[in-house]
Amino acid sequence: MNVLEVKDLSIQFGGLRAVDNFNMTIKKGQLYGLIGPNGAGKTTVFNMLTGVYKPTEGHIFLDGEEITGKPTIKINQMGIARTFQNIRLFGDMSVLNNVKAGLHNQIKCSLWSNLFRLPSNFKVEREMNKKAMSLLEVFGLDKFANHKAKNLPYGEQRKLEIARALATNPKLLLLDEPAAGMNPNETAELMENIRFIRDNFDMTILLIEHDMRLVSGICEELTVLNFGSVLAQGETSEVLNNPEVVKAYLGD
């Protein structure tokens, strides 16, 4: 079954066609990679998938339902969660509260029960704490639960962003350069984490990445973008040996 189907997606910024005729199909449970040189339009694709940009042309289907042009909030509620290339955590909130904010639409209670501390408020807090701690444990972040998010080391911040995205219980998880700024050990650990999420959370994952070790290590299929259009698409080993792709990355 296809979790995500993108058909003829294009976006125009003034005179610049940033993404042109982009097609992509991701099956359930797949680990899919979106790669390409700097400025190829990868993050723009992410921004269209999550409703930050409205595409000029084309359609996006999540689980068969059209989500093209819907607002970000709605798209998240329908099942796409993401992380950001430049980390966007809630810096002044605790690590635990970051994940609890992610659980916002999963575990609900009314404003009145918050204000007057009705029993449902305590029930929700207990549930949230339990769920959030178990998510933090997956990434080994439980020991930092009370720290402010902005005080975490860089690599841990990236992991926290993934944990927060997972808390929204998505069908599809978008990771924008999850290994950026990580050393080889941290990257290896992250690869384990990503596999673990896919297997244990029954998740479909689409990731943008420049680190080829990570891409060839965990991605099953790839799409290569160059200057806004698809250069190659298919199984990882095939795509990476494609002479066109090698040329785009390394030059002639």
């Binding site: 999550t50 909030i73 998240n76 966007r88 955590l89 909130m93 575990i107 009370n146 927060r164 995205a165």
Partner: protein
């Protein structure tokens, strides 16, 4: 163990603040009962209370939502006038009605009408951020007190009549009771009680409940949603938080509480008039000073700053003409000290020492 601590942290902080307030209240009540408190200080107790409410409610918008509002005194103005109006009108129409019904009604209606004004302002600034939002709230605050400065109201033959034209209502019968008279405002508002101790007790009870509500709000699902907007709007949207809704909720709640403070204000003073100095931007800035001085986002800080800055100008009264000068210098000094990394590192070290003392005690208890 670590899990348990996580869950308790916010609760412990809340209990600490509320307990501290209760202890301070107890001390002041004893001082009043034993007549050791000077008259001047006694008159400052209720102002302390409404300043605390104003500070913690503005802190919701400035510190928790992260938007600069410069029109908070406007909401207080609404509460002050509507509250005073309700208690005066009820006093005229139903003279036998018990105070215990009139005053709660005045507080409730004053707060609710302020909340409606909050909703109106909230809708206006729906798409605004930062400086633009600050300017609009500033203008909104000015509009509000100006509306009340041209409002006339009277009770004529059991009917309430209004005029918003800046002149008194035409064709009033001689038996009519004037309630609000434009720029002169409303006078002769019944005090909550003639006894200073009781008045303070009522004001404190209201303040206590307000602080409890505010702390509940901050440390809850709703509060986290609001803070996530403050810390990163784009990320908040990406995890499905309806930021428009939570912005409105925060602004309306803040306006409601400012309205409550206004009702307290008008019943303490007995006479209110819609003037620039009392309800204009000068007052809004004063409230903002409480919040900034106490540390944005810190409820405890707002409370302490509100108390100190209520008392300080009165203590400085001995300096006569130099009073506001010294006040300003003190403010600048405190801001500099607050922002000085060397001094704040000393303060942190002291805090940690106190904390480790407590921890040792706890461990000793566990060992037993």
């Amino acid at each position: 163990m670590s899990k348990l601590k996580t869950m308790r942290q916010s609760t412990r902080k809340k209990c600490f603040i509320l307990l501290g307030m209760l202890i301070a209240f107890g001390i002041f009540e004893i001082l009043i009962a034993t007549n050791t408190l000077s008259n001047q200080m006694q008159n400052l107790l209720v102002p302390m209370c409404y300043n605390i409410i104003l500070a913690v409610s503005l802190n919701l918008v400035v510190g928790i939502l992260g938007e600069l509002s410069l029109g908070h005194a406007g909401f207080m103005c609404v509460g002050a006038f509507v509250g005073a109006f309700v208690s005066k009108v009820l006093g005229v129409l139903y003279p036998d009605l018990s105070k215990w019904i009139v005053f709660p009604l005045a507080f409730l209606i004053g707060g609710l009408v302020a909340a409606i004004f909050g909703l109106l302002v909230g809708f206006t600034i729906l798409r605004l951020k930062g400086d633009y939002l600050a300017i609009v709230t500033l203008a909104a605050g000015e509009i509000i007190w100006n509306i009340f400065s041209v409002t006339y109201a009277a009770v004529d033959n059991g009917k309430i009549r209004f005029s918003l034209g800046g002149t008194n209502i035409k064709g009033l019968s001689p038996s009519a009771k004037q309630i609000a008279t434009g720029a002169q405002g409303i006078s002769g508002i019944d005090p909550l009680s003639s006894n200073a101790g009781v008045r303070f007790a009522i004001a404190f009870a209201i303040t206590f409940v307000v602080v409890w509500l505010v702390l509940n709000f901050i440390h809850s699902r709703t509060g986290r949603a609001v803070q996530s907007y403050r810390d990163n709007r784009i990320a908040a949207e990406s995890i499905g938080i309806n930021i428009t809704k939570y912005r409105l909720i925060t602004i309306v709640l803040s306006a409601f509480l400012a309205g409550i403070a206004g009702v307290l204000y008008s019943h303490e003073l007995g006479v209110i008039s819609a003037k620039q100095e009392v309800f204009g931007y000068v007052m809004s800035i004063n409230i903002l000073v409480f919040v900034v001085l106490g540390g944005m986002g810190s409820t405890l800080g707002s409370i302490i700053a509100a108390v100190l800055l209520t008392v300080l100008p009165e203590w400085l009264r001995v300096l006569n003409d130099y009073r506001m000068l010294i006040y300003a210098v003190v403010l600048i000094g405190v801001m500099l000290i607050n922002n000085n990394p060397t001094i704040s590192s000393y303060v942190d070290a002291f805090k940690n020492k106190v904390k480790s003392l407590f921890k040792r005690k706890n461990k000793a208890k566990e060992a037993q």
